[in-house]
Symmetry: C2
């Protein structure tokens, strides 16, 4: 077990390193007002903390930097998230008070502001199809052959896709078809649409529609649901400001990885409530092993529907960031539950 003093020194050191990004030496720590022991004493403690695996040296005679284990300990035991500053609160309030016309805009804006406030890259995963339900379907013809199918979900999200109208089907038939779809499918979770159609609706079609076979194929076409998650990035270039990414090569690897859908999925799938911090090697994705990821989930009717996260160097301003993310994710939850 760590002594009171060791805890204190560890905390001071990590705080200092997070701020200055330079190995911290015993003298630096001893110079603080609230430190009443000599550099030599601190050196002894530092050596012990290093033996325990919480600290590292960049070379034999350098100061110490936190190891990943050190950060882990820091996050788990030494961290009291700072109260948000009034400026932060003001910004967040402004964000959520703004009248946002498009649902997507709120994600875009949040991602942007979050990265602006923290100087890290933010990634927001929009509502997953799984938990939202269908509100309304509309089919709008563009020409004789083409049409746009529009889906509105319970969260106010609008999805659209082009479809090719089957030849020789009368407009009235199509209208009837859409009416049936709306009647039968409203309120059904998006993920279950296809199943529901196959299991229950074919019967109905057979009953009401003349050309039911063709209609059936057509519907299959519409509902080939591309279950793509909506991912919103904010401040992708923020990492370029971090000294640990002064090397273009590193930035490239990271940014390229973030373009991969599989990577995003792997990183951001919410596995539990509240806030999760993943530090360095703890991340499953190779390119992110020198980063930390902070993830918060928001929910709708008590179920996770998306995540909000920040990615930055392992040396992250955990204190501030955790508070921020917590607040914003709660606002998200409120927003969704209040609106719809």
């Amino acid at each position: 077990m760590l002594s009171e003093r060791q805890l204190f020194i560890l905390q001071v050191l990590i705080d200092d390193y997070i701020q200055h990004v330079e190995p911290v030496g015993s003298r630096t720590i001893s110079k603080r007002e609230d430190v009443h022991f000599s550099p030599a004493t601190i050196r002894n403690e530092l050596a012990d903390l290093e033996d325990l695996g919480f600290l590292e040296k960049t070379h034999t005679s350098s100061g110490r930097i936190p190891s990943e284990k050190g950060y882990r300990f820091y996050v788990d035991h030494l961290l009291s998230p700072t109260i948000l500053t009034t400026a932060d609160i003001f910004n967040i309030q402004a964000l959520f008070n703004e009248k946002l016309e498009e649902t997507e805009r709120i994600f875009e804006q949040s991602a942007k502001i979050l990265s602006e406030l923290t100087n890290y890259t933010s990634i927001i995963l929009g509502p997953e199809a799984i938990e939202t339900t269908l509100k309304h379907i509309q089919l709008i013809p563009l020409g004789s052959q083409q049409a746009v199918a529009i889906f509105v979900t319970s969260t106010g999200h609008v999805e659209n896709r082009h479809v090719i109208l089957p030849e020789g089907i009368a407009p009235e038939e199509i209208e009837k078809l859409v009416n049936i779809l709306n009647e039968k499918l409203a309120g059904v979770p998006l993920a279950e649409l296809h199943k529901k159609i196959r299991d229950e609706l074919n019967v109905v079609f057979r009953k009401y529609l003349k050309n039911h076979q063709q209609a059936s194929l057509f519907i299959d076409d519409i509902f080939k649901w591309s279950n793509k998650d909506k991912v919103f990035f904010g401040g992708k270039t923020k990492m370029l400001y971090q000294p640990e990414f002064r090397d273009v090569e590193k930035v490239r690897i990271l940014l390229d990885a973030l373009e991969e859908k599989t990577v995003i999925e792997q990183l951001l799938t919410a596995n539990n409530d509240g806030i999760t911090v993943t530090i360095g090697q703890e991340n499953q994705v190779e390119a992110v092993k020198n980063c930390s990821l902070i993830k918060a989930s928001y929910s709708f009717h008590g179920k996770h529907i998306g995540t909000i996260s920040l990615i930055g160097p392992t040396r992250m301003e955990y204190k501030r960031v955790i508070g921020l993310l917590d607040t914003i994710s709660k606002e998200f939850t409120n927003l969704f539950n209040a609106r719809f």
Copy 2:
């Protein structure tokens, strides 16, 4: 006027520099098979070309690199766009043959492939509101207070926004309202919607709707048209591969600039037909003054509706890129005109 030999040397030098990104010396040029004069001769020619402003030196005893004037000359007079390779053609064909469900997808995909093929960052400006017309409006209630307004344009683009329903307005009234809107506004260019409503529709509302004042306000709300252009990026990180962006600072400035909507507007507004090449300082935007921008526009019913462009270092593979962009922009034009 430049002599035959000067033209030749200039071309060879620029080609070589574009490929190897190293100052080119007289000896390098003389080593080519098709060069039958000595390094000394070439040195004299190079000195002349430098005096004329087509070439520069990085320091007194270095080889030459093209100046921006040099590139300009190269692009204007020395360039015969290379025929696309079969691989390129194959890729483009595949892109346009793919059945793209969402209109947006084709932009996303094109941007991606374009940057993949060229290794530069691509920017595609989606159809501008100005030239497209309204096809259909739909208002879908989400709750008692909320609704989603959906706009479908003649190019199959779908726009949506949240609106707050005015209190105490009956559903039938709203339905009537939407019907009027569709009847009167279908075919009107998006940019003129608001004007048209003010000038012509208020009269109609007064006639048919009970609560016309409230409806009027409501409609104003819906049509507060956020005339935001749709911008699609491809391969934003591609520039990290370019040696001229080995400096993180430079990348940051450029990438940050590209986030600014005003910058994108300034850069990409199409001012004329065909392909435009803007080299270095010719660009109006500060952050892009060490880049080249190649821009092609595509059209719908003979009018520009958007642009496709590539941004990269001034040392760009103009030859290849121009051919590619030309092909793709033409395919875009075809696509839009064939589909709708």
